[in-house]
């Protein structure tokens, strides 16, 4: 992936609305054929970032570079990107076929060529024979597919997707996630995807960009972001986690909960305060006598695949995921392997509580 050239480069992008900063100093590049996801809670600036790339908004400062050219103030109709909008934004006065053909007609393509390409697209999104239907007669999932076909038929270099699956039910959403991902790999198009659903981001992306309050907090592969969150916010937003205050005694040794733990991180210095992250599935429930920590099970919730237990060890209540259940009130031991203890520098705004 890394040898592909950079398609889009955002340089020092900031955006203000009436004195309110919604994006500050965004720097990001997207490589050709990459599937990049902007992930963050609502209002974090991810959609604004997408709209700046689409040309629907101009940044207050900074540059948008596309394929080596500055396109910061180029209007949307001159950009080689296409967008799939949140609520599809299909044209209700046109039928399915004419919706998909909209962009091709503007390019003054011949009728035969247009109908050939439209059919190919209908085939791609598994809606063969729907050409003459009115878009309002279609289900949400089908409309979504038409919106994707309408964008892809123009053969964009980059496809921008703004929470495209937000309006679909869970089962359909999961199906469409896989379908979109395989479509992206088959066609070799760069995808920039916006979502607030961390699971969706982990499933589909080559690279995840975690955003909050107009800032980029971390950029990395799904695995890297999950295993090595750089801040408490990222750790909490991607998956579930236990975050506890601790002290780095020296390289590969951390102190928390009145105990020293071996870990694999180094380079923090000696006796510096740190945040310690342990994922709920990485805490193992063992016998009371052999656990590194001991505590009482406060509550048990059945979550389908696993049980979620809150275990109080006196100074901290740990969230633990396990396939075997310990009844509430029982005393258990907890243990964790060094590899699963993740150390972060505490950040000012979002230090562990």
């Amino acid at each position: 992936m890394s040898e592909e050239p950079r398609m889009i480069h955002l340089e020092n992008i900031s955006k203000e609305y009436n004195g309110v900063t919604v994006l500050s100093d965004i720097n990001l590049y997207i490589r050709k054929k990459e599937f990049v996801t902007l992930l963050g809670p609502s209002g974090c600036g991810k959609t604004t970032t997408l709209r700046i790339i689409g040309g629907f908004e101009y940044p207050s400062t900074g540059r948008v570079v596309f394929d080596g050219k500055d396109i910061t103030t180029l209007p949307p109709y001159k950009r080689r990107v296409n967008t799939v909008f949140q609520k599809y934004a299909l044209f209700p006065h046109l039928n399915v076929q004419d919706n998909i053909a909209f962009g091709l007609k503007i390019k003054k393509m011949s009728r035969g060529e247009i109908s050939r390409r439209v059919d190919k697209m209908l085939d791609l999104v598994n809606l063969n024979g729907y050409g003459k239907r009115s878009v309002e007669s279609l289900s949400g999932g089908q409309q979504q597919r038409i919106a994707i076909a309408r964008a892809l038929v123009n053969e964009p270099e980059v496809l921008l997707l703004d929470e495209p699956l937000g309006a679909l039910d869970l089962k359909l959403r999961k199906e469409m996630q896989l379908e979109l991902k395989s479509m992206q790999q088959r066609l070799g198009i760069t995808f920039l995807y916006v979502t607030h659903d961390q699971e969706e981001a982990l499933t589909m992306s080559d690279t995840i960009v975690v955003m909050n309050a107009g800032h980029i907090l971390q950029i990395g592969t799904p695995k890297k972001i999950y295993d090595e969150p750089k801040s408490a916010f990222v750790a909490r937003f991607i998956g579930e986690s236990n975050i506890i205050r601790g002290t780095m005694v020296r390289d590969e040794l951390v102190h928390f909960s009145d105990m020293d733990f071996a870990c694999v991180d180094s380079g923090f210095g000696e006796n510096v305060p740190v945040d310690v992250v342990i994922r709920p599935e990485d805490l193992m429930i063992v016998g009371e006598d052999i656990g590194q920590l001991t505590g009482v099970v406060k509550s048990v919730l059945f979550k389908g695949v696993h049980y979620e237990m809150m275990i109080d060890t006196g100074d901290f209540t740990w969230k633990v995921h396990s396939t075997t259940m310990q009844p509430a009130g029982s005393r258990v031991g907890l243990s964790v392997v060094p590899f699963n203890i993740h150390i972060m520098r505490p950040t000012k705004e979002d230090s562990a509580k």
């Binding site: 689409g54 109709y77 599809y88 123009n154």
Partner: protein
């Protein structure tokens, strides 16, 4: 009993509303000149009506003004509505209030103020000033009927068009206009009807040399109503009734659709 009283009440209300019009229509078919005595069925007054030069001229003025005013007001009002719709919330509310005020203002105020404007600017009153006046009072109604359609539109439709390579003008004609067309047509018909119907504003903004039907009827009525006027009024009533029915049907359909 209660039910009967309710129905009876409704019946007499409708009776008093429509009897004058019914009498007028019946009299228009009266063979004699009398307004009190039925002298047999005849179409004399209709024949006379169509051979009366002054009336035919006024009819021509009325219809051409209504058509032209409707066309100009529709273009102006539709573009204005699109512009207002794109505004931010507060200027939008301000603009909507400004367009609503002329609709609630008494016609006589609009008429007199337009007359004063034309006197002040030394524009000679006649066909053009009457047309301008009609465009003026029609436009807010067009804005009012286009606005809801714009609000119903997916707010990303226009952006989607630009995204697919449409210039703003192409998007206006191929995406926005088709989507708001029902509102535009309703607005145009409303403008046409209002213009056809108007007396007060026309009276103050034209010269005695250029008369539309309503001002003509008014000036002739002072000399005593000729039975041709009955025939003319009956025809106007029927024409407006048909137009109103079409407009109502369109707006009912729009309501059903949502």
């Amino acid at each position: 009993m209660r039910k009967f009283l309710k129905r009876f009440y409704l019946a007499i209300v409708l009776f008093f509303l429509y009897v004058p019009i019914a009498v007028l229509i019946i009299l228009s078919f009266n063979a004699g000149k009398s307004r009190a005595k039925w002298e047999g069925f005849s179409l004399t007054w209709y024949a006379q009506l169509f051979s009366d030069k002054a009336i035919m001229n006024a009819l021509y003025v009325t219809i051409t003004i209504a058509v032209l005013a409707a066309i100009f007001a529709t273009i102006l009002g539709t573009l204005a509505a699109i512009g207002i719709h794109a505004m931010k919330k507060r200027p939008q509310a301000l603009m909507m209030t400004l367009t609503n005020i002329p609709m609630t203002m008494p016609d006589i105020v609009t008429g007199v103020s337009l007359m004063l404007l034309f006197l002040f600017t030394k524009v000679e009153r006649g066909y053009v000033t009457m047309l301008l006046a009609h465009i003026t009072f029609d436009t807010p109604y067009v804005i009012l009927s286009v606005m809801p359609k714009l609000k119903q539109m997916n707010k990303h439709s226009y952006e989607a068009a630009l995204d697919l390579g449409a210039t703003p003008i192409y998007a206006l004609f191929h995406v926005i206009l088709p989507e708001i067309m029902p509102g535009v047509i309703t607005g145009a018909m409303l403008a046409f009807t209002l213009s056809l119907d108007d007396f007060t504003i026309s009276y103050f903004t034209t010269s005695p040399l250029v008369q539309n039907l309503s001002t003509l009827i008014y000036s002739q009525a002072r000399k005593g109503i000729k039975p041709t006027m009955n025939a003319l009024s009956a025809l106007m009533f029927v024409a407006l009734l048909i137009l109103l029915l079409i407009v109502n049907r369109r707006s009912n359909k729009a309501v059903d659709k949502n």
